[in-house]
């Protein structure tokens, strides 16, 4: 199995850490040995940490001239065999989109930590937002799939960064940690494990790097230096990487496989968490920091006699539509609080069937309070 348990290389035990530092430690623990980046509020502490740490651990750190160069460097490093990452915020994600499409199409594992701030555009750089949900999925042109995970605690800034690496390496896709300023800058108790599970990239010498007979297959990934004849191109290519810019069958098979390799494994990828869902009539669907406000509100609602529950989405992409449909069957209503104008609300609505969905949006650069969610639950009950 390419998933193996190893000793956690960062200090184990009970610690008090910031979210951004925990994400950087997660990257180190996952085996990341290349960071290419450009500093941006509110993610810069990740870059600062990696700039100190990577050299000591035999890795490489490059500050590039901008985010376009940063993600390009990360893609290149990944093809040398390194687990590679960058961290940024919304404006950086916008600049990276072209190369993220390149990474998806060339099946290059890369991890991007997006510590979201109040956008669009430059927006309020130091304030929180959660507006990049759709951008990380649909930002580059064409059809492709990515993985995006949504941490709600400093503990998960660590553990989900490792998971982002594991999924990225296993599926050969870009994987995002969709963090938020409020979690990146939160300092919190972390119970750091003694061991971590990390995925080692699949490589079988002589196997084609871009093809598989299986229409949902994930090919073996060689690195430059392994001695393979290796061509990497953003044009449509055959299983050996030769450009195939004519011929409908090549393009159709490749584009479908790039999606199917992720979508066919949704059951293994998608994770969620539930609180008081067993008899819940009103279900709050929340993710990231907002799920903490939601949990507090759900507990208060229960004390007030309202049968509320929380469905917390840990995986945002691929989106677990079956989960929404399943929970909808027992629910009288969904409430979707978000620090954007309803990006996940639209998805919940699409799969909620006849269950009514209420959106609670806030884009003022501050976190949604438990009181706001509780008030909405009271109105719905």
């Amino acid at each position: 199995m390419p998933l193996s348990k190893v000793s956690n290389p960062v200090q184990a035990g009970r610690r008090y850490l910031s979210g951004n530092d925990a994400a950087a430690e997660g990257a180190i623990a996952a085996g990341c040995r290349f960071y290419g980046g450009y500093p941006i509020t509110p993610s810069s502490e990740i870059m600062e940490y990696m700039s100190r740490e990577l050299e000591e651990r035999g890795g490489a750190f490059l500050q590039m001239e901008d985010e376009i160069a940063s993600i390009s460097a990360v893609v290149g490093a990944s093809w040398t065999g390194a687990k590679a990452m960058t961290a940024t915020s919304g404006p950086g994600v916008s600049l990276m989109q072209e190369c993220l499409g390149y990474a998806a199409f060339t099946e290059t594992p890369v991890v991007v930590v997006d510590v979201q701030r109040a956008g669009p555009c430059t927006g309020q750089a130091t304030k929180v937002g959660s507006g990049d949900i759709m951008a990380v999925k649909w930002g580059s042109h064409g059809d492709y799939q990515v993985v995006a995970l949504s941490p709600w605690s400093v503990q998960e800034m660590f553990s989900l960064t490792i998971e982002a690496f594991n999924l990225s390496e296993r599926l050969r896709v870009p994987a995002f940690l969709l963090a938020e300023e409020a979690t990146g800058h939160l300092r919190e108790r972390v119970d750091m494990p003694e061991t971590v599970e990390i995925y080692t990239r699949d490589y079988e010498p002589g196997q084609p790097p871009f093809g598989a007979d299986d229409p949902a297959g994930i090919p073996s990934m060689p690195s430059f230096g392994d001695g393979e004849k290796l061509l990497v191109t953003g044009s449509t290519h055959d299983q050996w990487g030769f450009r195939k810019t004519e011929g409908p069958a090549f393009h159709d098979a490749l584009v479908r496989r790039l999606s199917q390799k992720v979508l066919s494994r949704k059951n293994e990828i998608c994770r969620h968490d539930g609180y008081h869902l067993d008899d819940a009539e009103l279900v709050v669907v929340a993710y990231g920091f907002t799920a903490r406000s939601a949990l507090s509100a759900v507990r208060a609602a229960r004390s007030a006699g309202i049968k509320a529950g929380l469905l917390r989405l840990i995986t945002i992409w691929p989106f677990d539509n079956e989960l929404i449909s399943r929970v909808a069957e027992g629910a009288k209503g969904f409430l979707v609080p978000e620090m954007n104008l309803g990006q996940v609300d639209g998805l919940v609505r699409a799969y909620a069937g006849a269950t009514p969905v209420r959106s609670l949006t806030q884009v003022n650069g501050s976190t949604i309070s438990p009181a706001g969610i509780l008030a909405a639950l009271k109105e719905m009950s």
Binding site: R14, R15, Y16, P42, A125, T126, K127, E181, A182, H185, L186, R187, E188, R189, R292, S293, L295, S296, R299, T367, S369, P370, A371
Partner: protein, 180 residues
């Protein structure tokens, strides 16, 4: 400490507000509590007001931000004016009496910490560690020896003795407040 507590330390940039909050969070975690801390971040941290919020609990913390502090430490008049109305019912307000003019009923626990730091310890910069001592002593929410241990990890070796004195000074006064 048996239930959730919310603490807000607020003053001006440069008073060591953020360090005091981080130190108290670290100390809480060392004694097996859950702690979640947030600081003011942005333009206000580079000049004007500075704020360090801390939530403590014996169990996992759901909402990690401070809404109605059980303890407000006001190190400037601006911070006092801005935050005193949000203090929880029965909450405690500590203030720097050289810098803040409080209103009843929040006028009980004042100390001229800035002057004390300068006059007793010859250094204005350890005022925040005196405050840490005051907070620990007055509330009883932290184990004093663990707070001392956390402090030792936060300050440079060459300033350790000075900071130990500052912490002890704060603890003595804080304990008296706690018993009052």
């Amino acid at each position: 400490m048996t239930e959730r507590k919310e603490i807000r330390i607020a003053g001006l940039g440069g008073q060591g507000v953020v360090l005091a909050g981080a130190l108290l969070g670290e100390a809480a975690v060392k004694q097996d509590l859950y702690a979640a801390g947030s600081n003011s971040y942005g333009a206000q941290a580079r000049g004007g007001g500075a704020r360090s919020d801390l939530v403590l609990d014996v169990k996992e913390i759901d909402f990690p931000h401070v809404e109605h502090p059980d303890l407000l430490v006001a190190m400037s008049q601006g911070a006092y004016d801005l935050y005193v109305a949000g203090v929880a019912g029965g909450g405690m307000v500590l203030f720097d009496s050289g810098l803040v003019t409080p209103q009843a009923p929040h006028d009980r626990y004042g100390a001229d910490v800035t002057a004390l730091s300068l006059n007793e310890l010859g250094n204005r910069q350890v005022a925040n560690v005196i405050w840490v001592g005051l907070i620990v002593g007055a509330t009883g929410w932290w184990d004093e020896s663990v707070a001392a241990q956390a402090m030792a990890e936060f300050v440079p070796e060459r300033f350790l003795e000075l900071n130990k004195k500052a912490l002890a000074l704060g603890l003595d006064m804080g304990r008296a407040w706690g018993e009052a």
